[in-house]
Amino acid sequence: MQPTTPPPPPDAYHSEVTLRVNGTPRALTVDHRTTLLDALREGLGLTGAKKGCDHGQCGACTVLVDGRRANACLLLAVALDGCDITTVEGVAKDGGDRLHPLQQAFLDRDAFQCGYCTPGQLCSALGMLAEAAAGHPSLATDPDAPPAQGAVPLTPDEIRERMSGNLCRCGAYPHIVQAVEDVIR
């Protein structure tokens, strides 16, 4: 969906930025107060990232910024010029025709109900998988274990700990954990 009102010209309160969103450069004139989340949802019509709290408390807006997961509601779009942004709309392959294995696992496991937290859960899980693969420890990682060489094994406790920034009020957690386990097997 295209912006429905023409963007205002740059002035003291607006700037031009280019975000590379799901692989495509998108030039925007943004209000300096505009969060990445509102730039995506209202400016670019990419409403996959959800606004649950606007305060970084629920994770529904999780996207990948330069490959790392972030709460889009806590980032100002003006500060992200040139960044790579991946939203749930960019997760599927072949222009959306072929689901990512994690999306398929969410379907297979019925890992959602209302679906409002789902895009954030998906993006967060993708970021989490990359973090674990890079050896980042979590609170659930055994501190007495030898320093990780490469990937941290993702036990269910590891998955639950690392995904705890993404709330789901429908309580789909057990199925989300199963879905994540499906793609790491």
Binding site: M1, T4, T5, D31, R33, T34, D38, E42, L46, T47, G48, A49, K50, K51, G52, C53, D54, H55, Q57, C58, A60, T87, V88, E89, V91, A92, G96, L99, Q103, F106, L107, D110, F112, Q113, C114, G115, Y116, C117, T118, P119, L122, P156, I159, R160, E161, M163, S164, G165, N166, L167, C168, R169, C170, G171, A172, Y173, P174, H175, I176, V177
Partner: protein
Amino acid sequence: MAATPHTLGTPAERIEGRDKVTGAARYAAEHTPPGCAHAWPVPAGVTCGRITGVDTSAALAQPGALAVLTPFDAPRFAAPPDDPELDVLQYDSVPHRGWYVALAVADTLENARAAAAAVRVTCADHADEPEPHDVVLDEDHPEAYTPEKANGGYPAHRERGDAAAAFAAAPVRVDVSYRVPPLHNHPMEPHSATAHFAGGRLTVYDSCQGGNAVRTVLASLFDLPEDRVTVVAEHVGGGFGSKGTPRPHVVLAAMAAIHTGRPVKLALPRRHLPSVTGHRAPTLHRLRLGAEPDGTLVSVSHEVTTHTSRITEFVEQAAVPARVMYGSPHSLTTHRVVPLDVPSPSWMRAPGETPGMYALESAVDELADALGMDPVDLRVLNDPATEPDSGRPFSSRHLVECLREGARRFGWHDRDPRPAARREGPLLIGSGVAAATYPAYASPCAADATAHPDGTYTVRVNATDIGTGARTVLAQIAAAALTAPLEAVRIRIGSTRLPRAPLAGGSSGTASWGWAVHRACTALAAAVAGHDGPLPGGGLTVTADTTDEVRRTPPYARHAFGAQFAEVQVDTVTGEVRVRRMLGVFAAGRILNPRTARSQLIGGMIMGLGMALTEHSTMDAAHGDFTESDLASYHVPAHADVRAVEAHWVEEDDGLLNPMGSKGIGEIGTVGAAAAVGNAVHHATGVRFRELPLTPDRVLPALRPEEEPAL
């Protein structure tokens, strides 16, 4: 029918699933008509008082500001709303903190927010002491009274026999008090609406549990014929009761759209939700259970005190489940309510049953202790043949089967029944059980079904899918009635352009909508069978309306039942309680889609886990506001809180419900879950906690009473 794949009882995948995992599913605030403006509401900063002025000049001077509506200049409603919480910007007094006193509208979200922040509201009490307010509930409150009815239309007060005398004479007695704090629904999608008024027609995308009620309210308030109002709710990000009635956001969005002539989008900030979208009222419970030494109950008393607001009477019917659960010749079940200067309470997942069964099932556990009896056996012993309070026969009741099946699956009988007997290092381990119940309701509904010449079907009903899988199960019901493959059925829901339907609430959606879908499709199948030659180009359409049929149902007691089991660990160093596993077994009629049913039941149990361990709101006495109003302070369960949760069911064949033989499953998963956890904590520690939630600040001092607090 049996040969048809994907019909009733099979685990069909959610029809809208792909849209939800790709981000294609659009929710209420994700529609942006050309020229769409944004609105931001301004809540009252006082608890009660009178607004003497609203200075909008700074707000209107903000870039992009289009309008600021205030109680002094907002458009007047054509008729007052039935729900006083919807009477926004119509008068100058403030009934509770958070009440909306202005609405800013601007071209962008950022400008609307800035304009709202620039609105200056003055109140009569502004210069002096705030107007005195009273927001604190207690049993002895002088304004407490016994209402005529509690929520759901139940009589507030019922007595059979002489409960007090029978209790006094009972050989074994439990007389205990339990407290449940205010709780918040907090669906992940905040209440949102996008409204568009053009050509005398109002179109609203609303985040609601039922569009027909929203349409009726908007038509009445803005003096429009109902056929000129369309309410669309295609995808809804949860509700749990808080979207069951029209809420102020949709009224304000429509008002702003009509006033400005532009489409207007309004999404409530998360922190506003506790004040304007209802909450579960706090409940104070006194339970008196009297029994013979063999465990037979002779007297059951459940007395509830709760609060409501000054502008509406909502009484959480927490004593009502005690009328259903256990046989006893003497019984008292009664409610008292105190009107306070608080936001209006309303529905939250299983109103009445959730707090009521927490208290009742905890007290039953205490009685089992007092008797030295197994709590499963005690419940089985007192399972009644007919509904205790009404004397009506049950359409079906398989609580005992749930308890036995649950005990078997959970390994209940392997446990050492003595409290505080199992220790793993600093952890105390325990297990608990509780029963669950929820009524099986159904409401009148209309639907239509069309057979197309290409062999496909379209089924239309204004059902709402708030995450239940309504689309999917209705398509299954249709396919079964049509003896057609699921893929041949197109299901249309979520718009008031479709046949009128009741809300997604009271665990009655599938029963109500499915009944009408079943009737329409059954009639359509007969019409197609009787049709000679090819179908006409526009297809063959049959409509159904279940109003008469639903109202003629015979007077049986219709309820789902369940048994909840939990195992906890209690950390004696930190006081932290963690649930290691939960297991529920439910008897809820025929399970129409085991895949989505399991998700709902597990989700309900997890909400009960939150109620037991972390969810807690406080009405601040000084400021008259909920202290925990956002998701950082109000702790809903997170991934790390939830380990093994299993839901199972027993086969239940009940021909006295609806054509599908189903009972609702949306709420019963929550009922009893907190009691099972609390009873497990008692088993682990030997300490009985009687106020939720079981947070470390409560648990630790009770475990280590000999120690001085560290700070």
